[in-house]
Assembly symmetry: C2
Homo-oligomer: 360 residues x 2
């Protein structure tokens, strides 16, 4: 059952986030968004067999006929080929502008299905049903959709807000441990950038979180979504404060790109990226070195890598200068001014960045 | 030189349409939109050699560094491959979120470049510089962007409004005659659906238009853009009145799909499609048979096909039921209630449609 939903406040594009155990079987959460009576579930080959049949029954009880399309599992399939497979399935199944797409899966499914919804027939509505912790605390909220390009991650995409997010925390039971930790990376990121109290709570509850204590996870998901929803409401299209959500991501994206997408999970790369960003913040005199150590310890306690893989300096710089947040050739970074307080830096000297990367 | 620009009124997404001879060489029309100082011209292999160098000089005079990317010419290349070629070029050239794309060419270039702008790094600004009559009177105005899918035309796309439309009527001098007539199809469509007086003017000036009389073309372009801008302002995302702009298009899209994209020009297919739609309107008792004949004569006088190619009835119906405007399996058609007045029909009996298609 669900309590009062959170809301992402975006004017006429506002939507609820429902969080609770067993919500996949709650037709009442879906019915208000299925007036046209037609839906297509987009999932992957791992999640589909676990939950698609349940969701189809729930959608039927909510008054919608549906069928299911599955893409291959993994970040390596967050590409045009998967997207085109969805378009093929939608066209073959007669999906029209009134058909609602339902993204059932992790961040890759949400991003690809969301981008399909943003562009199929110039845009159809969609609902996010995230089944990984990463997707529940981060990627399902905020309307960012994308696929990767051989030359860069998330380089092709759109802003397209869902009608609703339905987070069934029971799906976390089947999540592999690495993916649980990868999700915790985004949870702790929200703490690092915006909430010192939540950060302390995370330090005190890291073991419970890694052990999947249901109460701890439910609290972490809700607090994460609250922080993200507030940031997104203030800056839907990332022209300002939303950039803070990219803490650890410029380094993380470079790790993912340098290693080949899919080798390191996104959250793992972000974990190591946050440690580097904290060390750079300390090197720049923004935070004490002891605080950077605290970041590193907490990242490690959540089961995440505390250090990046071996990457040549020139590869780091190539991948980082290609980041979407850059403009005019400068590297934009998110640094910490305190634990719980992040800031955008557009003028970090390249020598300082390189020094941290030489001795990570 | 340009007079007072038209404006498409869409709140914070409003933009000017400049129409006149020689505007490609007017830096002042571009400068207000190039504050970031970086632009990429997207054109095709036919138009690029004619005008790209001029436009690059104009952009430089307006304060922007630019380079040019060219896709192959023709509707057959309005596809993912061309789009991906643009993404490759943008990434290789270091284009970022502040880079402005400039679409220089006809409807295909505008649609593909516009969709690239809608989705590159989740959206960058763009300017339309249409060089065909079709693009000047229709596709450059209103923010529809798309690529084709093997299973349907314009099936993947986005609404993404340009910062400005700069229409240089001097570019029409190099336009092949078939493409001139194809553009006139959309001009006369605007008259058929919305303006009986303009329709009479078209009848009186068909010969001058086909002969490229500069004054007649300038008037036709301006009046077409006025009608389209008013419709778009009233219904940006095609939830209502904007559907009227699809007069002739359901039949036209079926012709293009059945013949293979590129065999019939879009405007040629729309020309024949409007004749069919007018005949169906007459068969349904909406307009006198004499008015349907008037539609047919004017379409012919503009150098367009008055009748469709031979297409099997089941192929017609397959392609028409796949049209984006349909919902719930019904065929949505735009019919005439009078010359100069169109209406959406969602309940035309299939037998009536088939009767008109059997004897086109």
């Amino acid at each position: 059952m669900t309590g009062e939903p959170l809301r992402v406040e975006l004017g006429e594009r506002s939507y609820p986030i429902h969080i609770g155990a067993g919500l996949l079987s709650e037709p009442a959460l879906f019915a208000p968004h299925l007036r046209g009576g037609r839906a297509v579930i987009v999932t992957n080959e791992v999640v589909g067999p676990l939950y698609a049949a349940t969701l189809e029954r729930t959608l039927a009880a909510a008054g919608a006929k549906s069928f299911t399309l599955a893409i291959p599992d993994g970040e390596a399939h967050k590409d045009w080929k998967s997207l085109d497979g969805i378009f093929q399935g939608l066209l073959a199944g007669g999906a029209d502008r009134g058909t609602v797409l339902v993204a059932l899966g992790g961040g890759v499914v949400g991003d690809v299905a969301g981008f399909a919804a943003a562009t199929y027939q110039r845009g159809v509505p969609f609902i996010q049903v995230p089944t990984t912790l990463l997707a529940q605390v981060d990627s399902s909220v905020g309307g960012k959709t994308a696929i990767n390009h051989a030359l860069g991650k998330n380089m092709v995409g759109a802003f397209h807000q869902p009608l609703a997010v339905v987070t069934d925390t029971a799906t976390l039971a089947t999540l592999p441990p690495r993916e649980l930790s990868a999700g915790l990376a985004e949870v702790v990121k929200h703490a690092f950038i915006a909430d010192a109290g939540f950060l302390e709570w995370m330090e005190g509850n890291a073991k419970r979180l890694v052990a999947r204590d249901a109460g701890a996870l439910a609290y972490a998901i809700r607090r994460s979504c609250e922080i993200k929803a507030a940031v997104v409401a203030a800056d839907e299209r990332e022209t300002g404060v939303r950039a803070l959500l990219n803490f650890g991501h410029t380094f993380g994206h470079a790790i993912e790109a340098a290693m080949g997408y899919g080798r390191w999970l996104h959250g793992e790369a972000v974990g190591a990226g946050m440690v580097i960003a904290a060390r750079l913040s300390a090197a720049q005199g923004r935070i004490p070195a002891a605080d950077a150590d605290r970041v590193k310890r907490l990242v490690g306690a959540l089961g995440l890598p505390e250090a990046p893989p071996a990457i040549a300096l020139e590869d780091w710089m190539t991948h980082m200068t290609r980041d979407k947040k850059n403009e005019g050739g400068r590297v934009t970074l998110i640094l910490l001014d305190a634990l719980g307080k992040a800031a955008v830096s557009r003028d970090t000297p390249r020598a300082a960045i390189e020094a941290v990367l030489r001795a990570p």
